[in-house]
């Protein structure tokens, strides 16, 4: 397996080599507030100027070529959840990443959806 581009700032033994909040300029609150652990995010191919983006933003764009949850992004990035949320909210505001509607997730799931999930679990 080829080393991932984020590996340079993560050391298995020592943990992150950069203090987590340094990645987000000390911000502890995402600017876009509706990201839950399970919210799905997906990068869209845009022609936007990426020169203002950090290495971590670009890494997220690469990870999210296929839909992933916020928690998966954080895990693959080796970053705390809040850091992943802040970085993702930057990208969502730029229009580079789209997300499932988190507010929809909070309403009680309908029978149809639950039946699909039940069938899916039985089929694995």
């Amino acid at each position: 397996m080829s080393p991932r581009s984020s590996d340079w700032w993560y050391d298995e033994a020592a943990g992150p080599l950069v203090r987590p909040y340094a990645l987000v300029s000390g911000r502890t609150r995402p600017t876009w507030g509706r990201l839950n652990l399970a919210t799905q995010v997906r990068a869209i191919r845009t022609t936007s100027d990426t020169s203002a983006l950090s290495v971590e933003h670009l890494e997220i764009m690469k990870l999210c070529r296929k839909p992933l949850s916020v928690a998966e992004v954080a895990a693959y990035l080796h970053a705390p959840l809040v850091v992943a949320k802040v970085l993702l909210s930057d990208l969502i505001q730029r229009g580079d990443v789209i997300t499932s509607d988190a507010s929809r997730m909070a309403v009680a799931p309908d029978r149809n959806l639950l039946q699909k999930v039940l069938d899916g679990v039985r089929a694995i």
Binding site: T28, L37, A38, A75, P109, R111, L114, V117, G120
Partner: protein, 194 residues
């Protein structure tokens, strides 16, 4: 600007089931038994300064506590993904539970008959929030075997809460547990909405 997207990009819906229980009861084992990926670990930081601040300027000297969450995923179909989130084992991390439980379709409270008390906090949490849950008794080899009635009595859960015996290492057994959670959640739906 020319067309940016050649194909229509959709984002799947996600549903989640929370797997709760005391420290070392086998939550990550259960998640790993059914997940299509090796369980991932993500961490949340809690600063001593609490969650009321927007900026860390001036609090660099505060210590941070790390809370680890293990989770797995099951792709149901291209439109729906199920996530299984294990709760942090220690009770002092209750603050994470609200986000974990937000929008969850249901929960598993995994207990070990050697330490049934590890399930109390979780049962109380899900009851208060009206989140459908089942109690799954992880039957470790060498663990005491009790009757269902004895476990129900010890945990003070009524007949309205499904109780299943399971082996957290066994995929089929864990599938049964998840199926019971979903069935239980379906039984709680308002019949008028069906």
């Amino acid at each position: 600007m020319a067309s940016v997207q050649s194909e229509e990009l959709t984002v799947p819906s996600s549903v989640k089931i929370v797997v709760a229980g005391g420290f070392g009861v086998g939550k990550t084992t259960l998640v790993g038994a059914v997940s299509e990926i090796t369980p991932l670990r993500t961490e949340e930081l809690l600063t001593e300064a609490g969650t009321q601040i927007d900026d860390l300027a001036g609090v660099e000297g505060k210590t941070t506590t790390t809370v680890a969450l293990d989770f797995g995923r099951i792709t149901i179909n291209p439109e729906v993904v199920l996530y299984l989130f294990g709760t942090p084992g220690q009770d002092r991390f209750w603050f994470m539970w609200d986000e974990l439980a937000y929008g969850a379709i249901g929960a598993v409270v995994l207990v070990d008959t050697r330490r049934l008390d590890g399930g109390f906090g979780a049962i109380d949490f899900f009851e208060r929030r009206g989140i459908p849950f089942v109690v799954a008794v992880n039957c470790f080899e060498g663990g005491h075997s009790y009757s269902e009635d004895e476990v129900r009595h010890a945990l003070d859960v009524g007949d309205g809460v499904p109780l299943v015996l399971c082996d957290a290492r066994d995929r089929e057994s864990c599938k049964t547990v998840l199926a019971r959670v979903i069935e239980h959640a379906m039984s709680k739906l308002d019949p008028a909405m069906a």
